[in-house]
Structures are given as C-alpha cells and as structure tokens.
C-alpha cells in the first residue's frame, strides 16, 4: 500500500495537494469497539433490535458508553456467553435460538433483529450468519434476522455502523432497470438533520431521495445501477463498497460539515442530477448564509488556535478541514483510527500541508506528542479527557461529536460551538 502520496481523483474540483507521509501507528489503542454504534443505531431504526452475542464485558461496555441505565427496556441487549456454552455442555446455537425466542416473545414489535458479533463470538467462531439464516426462516413473516460484527478485534467505534449498514445492503430491494436516477443519503443522521436535507433536495428539484438507513425496517430504500449515493458519514467504506456491488454510484464530495462542506456535498448531487447551477445557488444561499453567520462568533474565539485530534470516530479529518477552512484553526495532528484514502481525498487536499495525519494509534506515544505540542484544544475519548484536563490541557470529548446533530447548514453553528465552549469555559472559570 502506498502510504506516501494520495491519489486525488481525476476531475476533482479541489486543488490536488501532495501530502507528506501519513504517520501509521500500530500500538495500543484507546478507542471504542464497533458495538458502541448500537447506541445510536437502535434509536434510528425504531423497530430494530440489536442482540450482541458476547460476554459480560460487552454488556458492561454498552451500559457504560450509553451512560445510562435506562429504566425502560432498550432495544438492545446481550446474550452473555457462559462457561457451559464454552465447555460444550450446551449447544451454543440452541442456546442462541432459545434466547432469541424469548426475546421475540417479549417484543413482538421487533421487525428486524441484528445478531451482533463480538470479540468472544468471533474467537470461538460462532457462525452468526448461519444462525441469522436459520432464525430468519424460523421467524419468517414476523421478524427478519441479520448479522454483522461489531467486535473490537475487527472494528473500531463507528465501523460498527458501517458493518451494520453493509449487512443491510444485500437485503435492499432492486430498483427497476431503466428507472430514473434516485439519490440515496447514506449514514444514520438525527431525524431533524435528515429532514433538513430532504427539504433542500426537494427544493433543488431532485424528485426521488431516500435515506439509508430508513427509520423503519420495512421502509429501507431500493438500490441498483440508477442509485446515486452521497455518504453523509465519513466512516462508511464497506457500505459504499456493498452499494457499488449493487451497481450504485458514489458521488464524491466533501462531507457535509460547515458552510463549505455542506455546499460541496449538495453540489455533488446537483451536478449528478443535472440541476441548473443558478438554481442550485439560489436554493442553498439562505442556508449557506445562515451557516456563515452562525459560525462567525466562534471564529473570533477559535481563529489561530491549535487543535490536536486523537483517533476516535473517523470524523476527525472532515472536522479538522472545517475548523481549518472556515474557522481558522490550526490542526497540529489529526489522528484517525482508519484512513480511507479515496473517500478522504478531497478532505485531505484542503488540510494545511503542515498538519500531521496519523492513522491507528500508540496511545502513550501519541500523548507524549500532545504534551510536547500543548495544543489549545485536544479532541479525545472519555478515558483521556479528564486526565489531560488535570494536566492543564483543554479538551473536547470526541463522542459528543458522534451523538450531536452536527451536519448541514443549520447545525454548523452548533458544531463550531462544541469546539468553542471548552475554550470559553476555560476563560470564564476563576477557580
């Protein structure tokens, strides 16, 4: 793999920049596993249930990362593997069937059940795809059963959503050959943001627009050669590949963060759907202006400030681009758990040449670099934030960027404020 230069796709309207080497690290990581994605996915698809087949650790992770011990029954749970499952005293598959039967009897409203693989289920090679097929037949008509892996030996944090959506792609209905072009927005977005985008596409005159995933299991969009899709999230490499296998075509664009990112993202669709350029500008102008107004006050606070991203959600590169391009921040190092060079090409091209891009992690070495650089703001996971604050470094919890609505014109101000608030707080506190 060529790690030194980046191929910028031909026809890119960004100036191709040749970057220095990407710092690749393969040491100890401090990143969530893909199971964590269940926390937002189960709220997006409201008749789906996520059953992790794993250990007590998996259950404890979900509980701790979710930050709640919700009094109501959530639409996720863990089938905890026990000693007798491992010792072969019981048949794991029979046990799983029993757990699923009990679950579906309790929750007849569940239309889509994901069996989610974990580190232990992968290591003992429990075949969840066969189990899903078997259970789909058993519960056919009532509940569809699919599987994907959210294990920490294969996925980091947001890659769980990627794996989940990729598992859904083969299930999508085919579009009819010869149908008109359809647009698909790929990636779980908060409903409010999704609705904003749908309104904009309608105003642009793109008639058929679908969101994937849909809010209900029965409403998933079709896919086929007439599908043009925009990735709304930067971590959906496998999903994109699966859609491309169905003949769908990815529209390459910046990710929709900030005024510029959102404009470019919408523009890619406008071009693909032959929307008149003047009309496009007219439609996006109000939102674009609002976004610029909304981030203006944060620009005063953030301009010239340095920022260091530790790897977390793969949102790091597009967010660093937004902060550098629109708010004048100086990204010192942008870490990402995984760098998808093709999907990130436009983003990389817009980052300052001095910014170090790192992929993977060796957490102690990376923290040494943070301490040496003493950035004005460090974006990191929950395990690291307070310890760094105690060392006098100002931090932003990365996970809030995943849970908050930050996409699109009307969230640009909120997004900027997420970074401005820790600095503002540091300034106002007199203790």
């Amino acid at each position: 793999m060529n790690a030194l230069t980046l191929a910028v796709p031909a026809g890119s309207d960004c100036a191709p920049a040749v970057r220095g080497a990407v710092l690749r690290e393969r040491g100890q990581r401090e990143v969530f596993c893909g199971l964590t994605g269940i926390i937002w996915l189960h709220r997006k698809v409201q008749d789906a249930f996520f059953l992790v087949v794993g250990s007590r650790t998996c259950a404890h992770l979900l509980q701790s990362a979710a930050g709640v011990m919700v009094f109501a029954e959530p639409r996720f749970g863990t089938a905890i593997i026990e000693e007798r499952d491992l010792a072969g005293m019981v048949d794991c598959n029979a046990e799983l069937d029993r757990v699923v039967d009990r679950l579906l009897a309790r929750r007849p409203d569940i239309k889509l059940l994901f069996l989610v693989g974990s580190c232990p289920s992968e290591v003992i090679k429990l075949d969840l795809s066969r189990a899903a097929q078997r259970l789909s037949v058993k519960h056919s008509g009532a509940t569809r059963v699919l599987n994907y892996s959210g294990s920490g030996i294969e996925t980091t944090f947001t890659e769980g959503e990627d794996a989940c959506l990729a598992a859904l792609v083969p299930e999508l209905a085919a579009t009819a050959p010869g149908d008109a072009l359809e647009l698909m927005i790929v990636g779980a977005l908060p409903d409010v943001v999704e609705d904003q985008f749908l309104r904009l596409f309608a105003q642009l005159g793109i008639a058929r627009v679908h969101s994937f995933p849909a809010r209900r299991a029965g409403a998933m969009p079709p896919a086929g050669p007439n599908t043009r899709f925009l990735l709304a999230q930067p971590f959906l490499g496998e999903t994109a590949r699966a859609l491309e296998d169905r003949g769908a075509v990815r529209l390459d664009a910046l990710f929709p963060f900030g005024a510029e990112g959102t404009s470019a993202w919408l523009h890619a669709a406008a071009v693909a759907f032959g929307i008149d350029e003047m009309h496009f500008r007219t439609v996006i102008a109000p939102g674009r202006e609002r976004a610029k107004r909304a981030i203006a006050h944060a620009r005063e606070q953030l301009g010239g400030k340095s920022i260091f991203f530790l790897p977390d959600s793969q949102l790091e590169l597009p967010l660093a681009r937004f902060l550098a391009q629109e708010l004048g921040m100086v990204p010192l190092e942008v870490g990402t758990p995984y760098l998808h060079r093709a999907h990130m090409a436009r983003e990389l091209a817009l980052l300052p040449a001095e910014t170090v891009i790192s992929e993977g992690q060796d957490v102690d070495r990376q923290l040494d670099r943070v301490r040496a650089a003493r950035p004005d703001l460090t974006v990191c996971g929950l395990g690291l934030a307070n310890p760094l604050e105690a060392e006098g470094l100002t931090t932003k919890w990365a996970i809030e960027l995943v849970f908050s609505p930050i996409h699109g014109f009307d969230q640009a101000g909120d997004l900027a404020d997420l970074f401005a608030r820790p600095l503002r707080r540091r300034d106002v506190l007199k203790v």
Binding site: E30, V70, G152, G381, G383, N386, F403
Partner: protein, 538 residues
C-alpha cells in the same frame, strides 16, 4: 447464554482495575482487544479521576490472532514497566484473551522483570466484578506480604499503641472515599492507630506491612473478606466484621474494635443525630412505611437493620445481586420473615418491586430508574455507581456522620409529615397544580424534547429522564411496565380517584384494580374504590 439488558456488575477484570487504580505504584497489563479500553471512562468520567487508570491494554486485533499475540503481550509488558516504573505488576487476560490462552503469567515471568509480578486468573465466563476485585486484592496481599509469622509477631512484642488495617476500599467504590475518613477518625478517637488502608491509596510496600497491625477491619467484605481470611490464617490477625452502617451498627462496631484493641469504647460512643431525628414527632409518619431493599449484600443487610430499627419502616423486600454473599442475605432475610431475592436479572427486581408496591425503594441506580418509572420514592444505597454517587461534599455512609447522611438521604424522597397534611388541605385550591408532581422529585414537569439523537455518554447525565412517561389521570400507563390497563372505571369512581393525592393515587388505582380483579368485579364504582381501601388498610 443469558439474556441481559442491564448488568449490576462488570466483568472480573474491571474488579481488578478497581484495585490497581485504587493503589499507588501498581500497574496492570491486561491482554485485551481495543474495545475493553472503555473501562477507563468508568474511572475518569464517573469518579472524575484526574489520572488514567494504571492499565495497559495490549489491544490485539483480528489480524494479530493468526500471528503472535504472545509477543504483543510481552512487548506491552516491557514497555509499560519502562514507562511507568511500577513497584509491582499485575498481569491478566480479559474475556477475549482468556479464549486465546496466551498464558500471561508464563509470558511475564519469562521476561524476568526486577519487580514482583502477580498473575491473575479471573474466569470471565463464570465470575463478576466484585469477585475479581476480591481475588486481585487477595493475590496482591499474598504475593507482597512476605514477613514470616514469627518475625511479624516479634515486631509487636514491645508495648505499643494498638493499630488496625482498614481493608476493602477501592476505586469506583460507593462512598469509599468518605467512609475511610470517617472510620479513621473514629479509630483515632478510640486511640487506635491506622497501620494501613488498602487497597485505596496503598503502595505495594504498604501491603508488606499489613502484618504489623493488631487486627484487620473488613470494611467492605465483598472486596476484603478473602484477604482477611488469609491474614487470619497466616498471621493470626483477628478480623472486625461488623460493618458500621447505621447508628446501632456503629456502636456495635466500636464495641468490637475496642474489645480487640483493649481500649475503652466510651471515648467514641458519641452519638449521631439519627436517634433524636427519628424520635422527633415529625418522623411519626415514617412509621410502618413499606420499604424494598436491594443492593450488594453488605449494604442491603445494613440498610434493612436501619430501616426497621432506626427508621421504624417495615421491610417488605430484601435482596442482593452478588450470589457470593447469598448466605449473608438469607440469614438477614429470616430476621424480617422474608424470602430474599438473589438475582442479577434487573427485570426480576423490577417485577418484584411492581408487585410489592413499596412506599420507598432503597436500591442501586437500577432500582432508582425502576422506582422512577413506577413513581415510587427511592434512595440509592449501593453500587453500581453513577456520577451522582461521587458528590463533591463529604458524604460517608459509615460511622455516626454516615448515619446522619442516611437519615437525610432516605427521608428526603418521601413526602414529609406536615407536608402530607398540607397537600391534602390545598389539593382543591385552583392555584395548586395537582398534576405537577412532587417538586422534590425533580422531574414532575413534562420533559423537554432532547436534541441529542443518542444519549450523552459516560454515565454523566441521567439522560433516561427525558423519557419519563407522565402519569395522566385519564389514560393508563403504557403497556411497557406490564401493568393492566385501567378498565371499567365508572366516571364517578374516576373523579373520586382524582381527589386522592397524586403520590398515592397510582397505588390506589392499582389496589382497586387488583381488588376488582380478585373479586370478579367488572365495573369499578365508588363502592369498589372504598371497599378496596378497606381491604388493603393496615
């Protein structure tokens, strides 16, 4: 396989982390995949620790499995020892690494490190967090407590001030930080020195000094009991097993400690405010309140004694989630004529509470959520912990100050004696909003819509609050809690129900419906309502 929604305890390696994080100069190398690093946030977010837990995770990935995860482990050990320079090293495997059987113990000893290495065998598929913590502490004590018995005893030959070890407090413990301060102060009053507090704040060198103490105090038996038994066997140190939670238990604790140390207990038999607060007339309304108690066995057993003997409550349910202490909870339950509930299935606990309809729940954060759903007042008495269980103020559960804290904490969620009468008096006042709910419960108003599509992480925000289903008189609760839908209420009976104060209305409705169901009454009339009231009257 066990279907689990929420768990009371984490895996055993999290227990080991609680010991390592509590101590100074100890590092723990955990053979584990990257996802297991979530456990750091328990300490940095819930407990707000300003330091990372002293844990290095090997974070092996799928691609390493076919190759050399053992080498990865050894590299992690060497680098951790170089970087953190610990005085003692713990090594072990999490659930996934346990399956790949890399033998952390053998791999670490092959490195011939210049410090003691303690290998932990924590069976993840059988055991849980408390057991993991107890085992880790025991293994550390065993490995680091090296003096021979004779040597240890000779040190104590000359006359000296009596000393004790306080054993059991850990990182992420329920009020351990403040309990240790309270108990240390109490021992000082008695003229007893504290030799070592462990694991909280202890170094490996401190553990080596444990035999110097005259006796041990097992403050948290879930953590300390295994180690105390070994110290008893090995060095003949006696163990104080009374847990000083509550006024009476604190007095018993003082008597036990004073007898062992040969000191006069009267110096410390000062008193908490609890007895007078409990005897004062405003507390009359506490009499016979039906209370459901659930938590770790130690806190649950202590709470039951307090509830009955020091608050005048009636204990209607008692249980614990840690089976290791099933015997203790059974013995206690007999005192109250109860069948104990020993389970780690939170749905079972919810079912029991819904069935018993207590007037107060004393439980963990799980029961707090259950109680909130059922609109029953609740106070938290035990781990698992939540960010709210680490208050900025001094708030022990043990000793005399602990008894004061418990009085306030348990009484606060209840409607006060005089307040109860005032509510009845003003119920029909047009300015009194009956629907508002009890102001002190904090979530009576209709919840605002959350702007977050997902919960805020780190157990820092009780996000679940936004989903509280408001009880509305004209409609039944959702079907989620398994309650029967109201049926067959005559308009007259329904109106009468509205005249009952909101904080007992849910109970009145349920009791009436249960009464109607049991007596085959299809239509609930005014008479049914009052027949039911008479039927359930105590």
């Amino acid at each position: 396989m066990q279907l689990t929604v929420w768990t009371y305890e984490g895996p055993p390696h999290v227990g080991a982390m609680r010991i390592a994080t509590a101590m100074e100069g100890v590092h723990y190398v955990l053979h584990a995949p990257q996802g297991d690093t979530y456990a750091d946030l328990l300490f940095t977010m819930i407990e707000r620790r300003g330091k990372r837990p002293p844990v290095t995770y090997t974070t092996f990935q799928a691609r390493d499995l076919g190759k050399d995860t053992a080498a990865l482990f050894q590299t992690a050990v060497s680098e951790a020892v170089d970087r953190f320079a610990p005085q003692a090293l713990l090594v072990g495997a999490s659930c996934t690494a346990e399956l790949i059987q890399d033998d952390p113990s053998g791999l670490a000893s092959a490195l011939r490190l210049p410090i003691p290495v303690i290998a932990l065998e924590l069976p993840s598929y059988q055991r849980k967090e408390n057991w993991g913590a107890a085992e880790t502490f025991y293994q550390l004590v065993r490995a680091l407590c090296t003096p021979a018995k004779a040597e240890a005893e000779s040190r104590k030959d000359r006359p000296h001030t009596p000393t004790a070890n306080i054993l059991g407090p850990t990182a992420l413990g329920f009020r351990h930080r403040d309990d240790v301060v309270e108990i240390t102060r109490l021992l000082e009053t008695l003229g007893i020195g504290v030799n070592v507090v462990a694991p909280l704040g202890a170094t490996p060198a401190d553990l080596a000094r444990l035999p110097d103490a005259d006796f041990n105090i097992s403050l948290y038996p879930e953590i300390a009991d295994t180690a105390c038994r070994w110290l008893e066997r090995t060095y003949g140190q006696k163990t104080v097993r009374t847990v000083p939670i509550g006024h009476g238990a604190t007095r018993d604790f003082i008597a036990e400690v004073a007898a062992l140390a040969g000191v006069d207990p009267s110096a410390a038999l000062d008193t908490s405010r609890l007895p007078w607060w409990s005897r004062s007339v405003d507390s009359t309304y506490l009499t016979g309140k039906r209370v459901f108690i659930f938590g770790d066995a130690t806190h649950a057993v202590a709470a039951a004694r307090l509830a009955r003997d020091e608050f005048g409550f009636e204990v209607v349910g008692l249980g614990c989630y840690n089976r290791e202490f099933a015997r203790e909870i059974r013995t206690a339950a007999q005192l109250y004529g109860l069948e104990p509930l020993i389970t780690d299935d939170y749905l079972e606990v919810e079912e029991a509470i819904a069935k018993l309809q207590p007037e107060l729940v004393l439980g963990t954060q799980m029961e707090r959520h259950i109680a909130k759903r059922l609109r029953i007042p609740c106070a938290v008495i035990s781990a698992p912990v939540h960010v709210q269980d680490f208050p900025a103020r001094y708030s022990p559960q043990m000793g005399f100050e602990g008894a004061n804290v418990l009085f306030d904490t348990w009484v606060h969620p209840l409607v006060m004696g005089l307040e109860e009468h005032l509510l009845t008096m003003f119920r029909d006042d047009f300015e009194f909003s009956d629907q508002a709910g009890a102001s002190h419960l904090g979530h009576g108003a209709a919840p605002a819509a959350t702007r977050h599509p997902g919960p805020v992480p780190g157990s820092t925000v009780p996000q679940a609050d936004v989903q509280v289903a408001e009880w509305a008189p004209a409609q039944g609760r959702g079907d989620e809690d398994g309650m029967a839908q109201p049926r067959g209420w005559s308009p007259e009976a329904e109106r009468e129900l509205l005249k009952i104060p909101f904080f007992v209305r849910g109970k009145a409705r349920r009791n009436t419906e249960r009464y109607a169901a049991e007596h085959g009454i299809a239509a609930i009339t005014l008479d049914t309502l009052y027949d039911a009231k008479a039927h359930y009257a105590r």
